[in-house]
Subunit: 719 residues, 2 copies
């Protein structure tokens, strides 16, 4: 149906020469000779089946199996349940996951698992379409509580604790965050002091701000917890370590002696999870309950660690928990896909206002503004989806041991810290735009957009506040920068660009490396059409990241000579710039992932990508890339990277690309592969189309029968 | 406490000359000689009491009385109630409003009211802080259902129906929207056909899409409704009219014969309101139930109207209902004030990460990024607050009859259509940013940000979808433009600017008028400092609106020669530009309102504004104005209105202004005048400050006693 729409939409080409010129350029690019046969023209079309399979990525079978599971009503959210009902339902769903054998994938073969790290995350993140509470509560039990025992513990802990965790016999909390400390974990107040006399650790909460807080499973279901605390032995604080601590009597559900807590109560979303608070007063646990992979205490109280630097040890321990961020990235992409499936489907059915006709109203998606609201978000969703696949692959490489080096882990953490903020914010933005684009219907719970948005809200601040994560990325960029240019003069560095040859995109780390090659930036976009060239987009996006990093590095250079306080103030004076550079870097990573998905590494297109689909995906990638440039247009103008006339062309391009992609919108959301059983929004069920057809048929029949009253305005004036 | 902070924050002035230059300019402006005495220097400070009173505006006493009411626990929302409980609670609160004599203000003295239109809205919009459901359900009963009877009916209807409506004896629905038609009311499908034989109107719902939908009071409490339907008599459709229709048996609560309906069920928010659907099958009502102020049918079926044009008649009828938009504008501003009160208070107490000290962590609001997230939103909230006061005044003038002309009504509608989109989106944006700025604590229902956001979500699309409203504004701008320049050549119009002398701001209509005077735009901002001059900001903002309107008018000029279909396509091709011009216009109106609030009309400052407060408010206005210019910086650069170096200075300015205003943030939110009984967020209650103090005292005492363990990193390496 959508393919019959004329995307030139009656443009008066004389009046709109710019738009017409852009359209003819787009026509020309769509009509390139077929690469393979060398004859004929390419018609833009979408091979939905191929694209759908391609989007499923490396763990396609796991995802498909997870989608069969999330299609089952008993796994799905019931809107409007009370807090208690919702909590019990989700807890019950966790048991179904265990029965279904879904939870063992990431665990070691020695305890009955599969050692499949990428597949495990791929499967779990799909749970978000059933109910985000289910995804997150599973994440708490197996991805945080279980993973901490797995990654921070050693063989004894695996053998002793993992079976109960895997079977859900022991539901547990991941007690890291405190009321007084969210993202700054190093500063938590809880202490675990070794008592040589008894060979025990004694856990204490010294003040109210050190209560553990926002912990899933803590308010009700948890009977144990992995508690993060400052490890003190022989009056030395060795920093934050993790301890396995029983917290409730499994039979009665009562707190064990010395342990207390509170229910966090109702939240803005995710109410299927029983978040709560915990505090400890002289709680004693055996020495062996220290999860001692990275730091241990001997029976006589001597501390030892394989990592000498307390700072690096801390970050190594925290780094094992990166999977939370990876899975939030993937779940956010899935939620954005659901939102766009709803909004695009409804926008293709819903009619409102007559424009060019006396009788037929326009379908919403034919309005330019509606396209402008949805199409760029569709492009970003594709970019985020391809970027997530790269992140998940990197994660699997590190955790499977294929690429488990210090540098590999740091690269993984940086990549996750870069992508998670963008995808979580993108999901919220897309859910909200989809909700508004569906009008009042979008506000009804039955259409799911409001519920998903409410649940995903907190994704922006948990598992690392988005701004804090971007600041981590920036620090990595700055340290890479200073390592490379440690001895160079700043004047030399002021203009430097990409070292990679075109096509050699992201290096192994997911981080672009820096180089001195200076390109003539003025020539990147000789004609407006060249902006659509991959190399031109790459250069514009890369140049911005590198220039921003270089500039801020230069401004921070005096810090080495300053007092600690003044250096901190100097950093703070440039904090916004620093975070903006990290965001630009993350956007570039998404763009590179999208480009690689179409062009392949070294220009080898993916198998089975036909020319028509390639044209559509390239338009979509261009919309994403030029959309980024448009978003930061003032920067490109201020810094002389684009002339005013070329800058103006960017906005026209994104507008025309949105119109050009409009007939493909339904195909592009179909390729996400979510059926009605996953989307579950009555407005995108076809009901709207049926109502529209009924209304149009009513008027058609009444006109034909002559029973439709004459309109007063067609009669002339009335007294 | 906040006043002790040094806002230069240790800037290395040599390293950051730009920031230092801007700071010294800001210092200079703050140290202007006092206007009145001519001696001494002005210290920036906020007279919270004066400013608080000033913000209360013309209906200060009504607002204060309403705030006493909203401070009562029985008027307030209980988080976590079920749908049914919440609906019953809010219905009960409506009865309390009646008992309290709150609902009579807008109604005629003849039926016991006070004919106080502005005061009525001022009081009602304050209800949002108690529970947005209470505000909206009151709005449905008295602002829509009751107001329709009042404004569309005549003396018979007032006498017969208003007493029951005012006393809540007759709860009612405002049945305008249909499932198939939201913002396009003219196209609704419900018909009211006059039957000469019986002297009755017969109401029918011809198909499913014509069911009335999203109607407050329809699912449960409503026993009558004002139903909008196509009035048909003698086989002529006279367009949409309003009818008073009993829908339920008051005793049994059952639908009357021929009427059916459904519950809309759970929504994303506002669940204290029982939204539902209604449909009609041959429902007969007496002829006298037509609300016949603007159109009537005689006993023998002759239609008559005082307004000849069906189009103008329709818009006149709808125009009487503008108060919904006015009150959403005001309520949104109030919600943004609550959000900022929470986030600024928490940001001034919460500490996270040590920056320049070994022991003390920074207060969140000392971080540059945190300032950048909150201070511009504080500035926009002030702008929106002052703009709302102008709108409310205009509303009162029209409805009280002081300025009740056709033009006055059109101006009011345009002003409401311009401001409501900006303020509703601003409230959502501010609530979300405040939620994220408070981290996980912001996500707890007890801190209210998530609940308010969920409730206000739908404000963006009800009482007129925001984009549709902006398009209405744009059409008004375009028609004003073409009227003024009907005979002029387009070449002459290509460059035209403000006709108003500086200080003569918005004309009576709230719309800037257009003029041919050409200013040398290149000279507007000779030095970066001049950007802070009111006249320079005004010129930059006005020029953008006028240039955009002029450009789009030129592009649409060929439409008159095109077929209806092609003209619609041409309009659609420029829809985004059109709406962007309207948005720019609305932003300018907010800026003008803010400026007038400080400088007064004709440069006469408001009584009692001292110089210190004037400096703070001027910084805040500058942050708003320069923030708008920064947001649209690419436009200014592309169109040659700002040079690249001046454009760069804009961003630096807003950053330094945010830092400069930071010590005044607490005062600026205190002036909103909402006490703990209105804010009701435990994180801004002082509990956080107490926790922080307790933690700091614990460490201080332990250090003093020598009981704090030594940190490993201070000992050197461990094995």
């Amino acid at each position: 149906m959508t393919n019959t729409i004329d995307h030139t939409q009656g443009i008066d080409k004389k009046a709109d020469t710019d738009a017409a010129r852009i359209d003819s350029e787009l026509d020309a690019s769509a009509r390139l000779p077929k690469r393979s046969t060398g004859s004929g023209v390419v018609v833009a079309r979408t091979d939905v089946e191929w694209l759908g399979r391609y989007l499923l990525g490396s763990w396609a079978e796991v995802r498909l199996a997870a989608r069969e599971l999330t299609a089952r009503p008993e796994m799905q959210r019931i809107e409007g349940q009370s807090l208690d009902e919702h909590r019990e339902r989700v807890f019950g769903q966790l048991k179904l996951l265990v029965e279904d054998g879904q939870v063992h994938r990431a665990f070691p073969k020695s305890v009955g698992g599969e050692d499949d790290h990428g597949g495990n995350i791929a499967g779990f993140e799909e749970l978000v379409t059933a109910d985000p509470s289910l995804q997150i509560k599973s994440g708490v039990q197996w991805g945080l509580f279980g993973a901490a025992v797995l990654h921070l513990g050693t063989e004894y802990h695996h053998r002793t604790f993992l079976p109960g965790i895997m079977s859900l016999e022991v539901p547990g909390a991941f007690a890291m965050t405190e009321t007084g400390h969210g993202s700054d974990v190093a500063a938590i107040g809880t202490t675990a002091t070794f008592d040589e006399a008894t060979g025990e650790f004694v856990l204490d909460t010294p003040f109210r701000g050190a209560w553990k807080d926002y912990l899933g499973n803590a308010a009700k279901h948890g009977i144990a917890a992995v508690v993060f605390a400052q490890l003190v032995t022989k009056n030395v604080n060795h920093g934050v370590h993790a301890f396995y601590v029983p917290i409730r009597d499994a039979a009665t559900g009562e707190f064990l002696p010395g342990i207390g807590g509170e229910d966090d109560g109702l939240k803005g979303g995710l109410n299927g999870i029983d978040n709560g608070r915990l505090h400890f007063d002289g709680v004693r646990i055996p020495r062996s309950n220290l999860l001692n992979r990275y730091g241990d205490v001997s029976a006589d109280g001597e501390y030892s660690s394989s990592i000498a630097s307390p700072g690096r040890r801390f970050f190594t321990m925290l780094g094992t928990l990166v999977q939370g961020r990876v899975s939030l990235d993937g779940a956010s992409v899935a939620a954005a896909k659901i939102a766009l499936t709803v909004a695009v489907t409804y926008g293709n059915q819903r009619r409102q206002f007559t424009a060019g006709s006396d009788t037929d109203e326009e379908v919403l998606l034919d309005y330019q503004l509606h396209q402008k609201r949805l199409m760029p978000r569709l492009a970003t969703t594709y970019a985020a989806s391809f970027a997530h696949e790269k992140l998940l692959t990197k994660f699997d490489e590190v955790f499977s041991g294929v690429a488990d080096t210090d540098e590999g882990r740091q690269d993984l953490e940086t990549l996750a810290a870069a992508l998670k903020p963008l995808s979580t914010w993108h999901a919220l933005d897309t859910l909200q735009e989809a909700r508004e684009a569906c009008g009042g219907a979008g506000f009804l719970a039955e259409n799911r957009l409001v519920g998903l948005r409410a649940d995903l809200d907190v994704y922006a601040t948990f598992e690392g506040d988005n701004h804090v994560l971007l600041q981590l990325v920036a620090k990595r960029l700055l340290s890479d920068y200073s390592r490379r240019f440690a001895k160079a003069d700043f004047g030399v560095l002021a203009r430097y660009v990409v070292e990679q040859a075109a096509g050699r995109t992201v290096n192994g780390s997911g981080l672009r490396s820096f180089a001195q090659t200076v390109a003539d930036l003025g020539s990147t976009a000789r004609s407006v059409g060249q902006l659509r060239d991959s190399a031109a987009q790459r250069q514009l996006l890369t140049d911005r990241v590198e220039t921003m990093v270089g500039e801020v590095a230069g401004k921070l250079r005096p810090a080495v000579k300053l007092s600690k306080k003044d250096a901190a103030d100097l950093f703070n004076l440039h904090q916004s710039e620093i975070i903006e550079a990290a965001r630009a870097h993350a956007e570039l990573l998404q763009w590179e992932a999208f480009t690689e998905a179409i062009e392949g590494v070294d220009g080898t297109a993916p198998e089975g990508l036909d020319d028509g689909t390639r044209v559509v995906l390239t338009w979509l990638r261009d919309l994403f890339g030029l959309g980024l440039i448009e978003k930061h247009l003032a920067w490109y103008l201020i810094n002389g990277r684009l002339s005013p006339s070329r800058a103006r062309a960017v906005g026209l391009y994104t507008e025309r690309l949105s119109a050009r992609l409009r007939p493909h919108a339904q195909d592009l959301v179909s390729a996400f592969g979510y059926g009605p059983e996953h989307v579950r929004a009555s407005i995108s069920s076809g009901a709207e189309k049926a109502r529209q057809s009924e209304a149009r048929e009513y008027y058609r029949a009444a006109r034909a029968a002559g029973t439709l009253p004459v309109e007063e305005k067609k009669l002339g004036t009335t007294k």
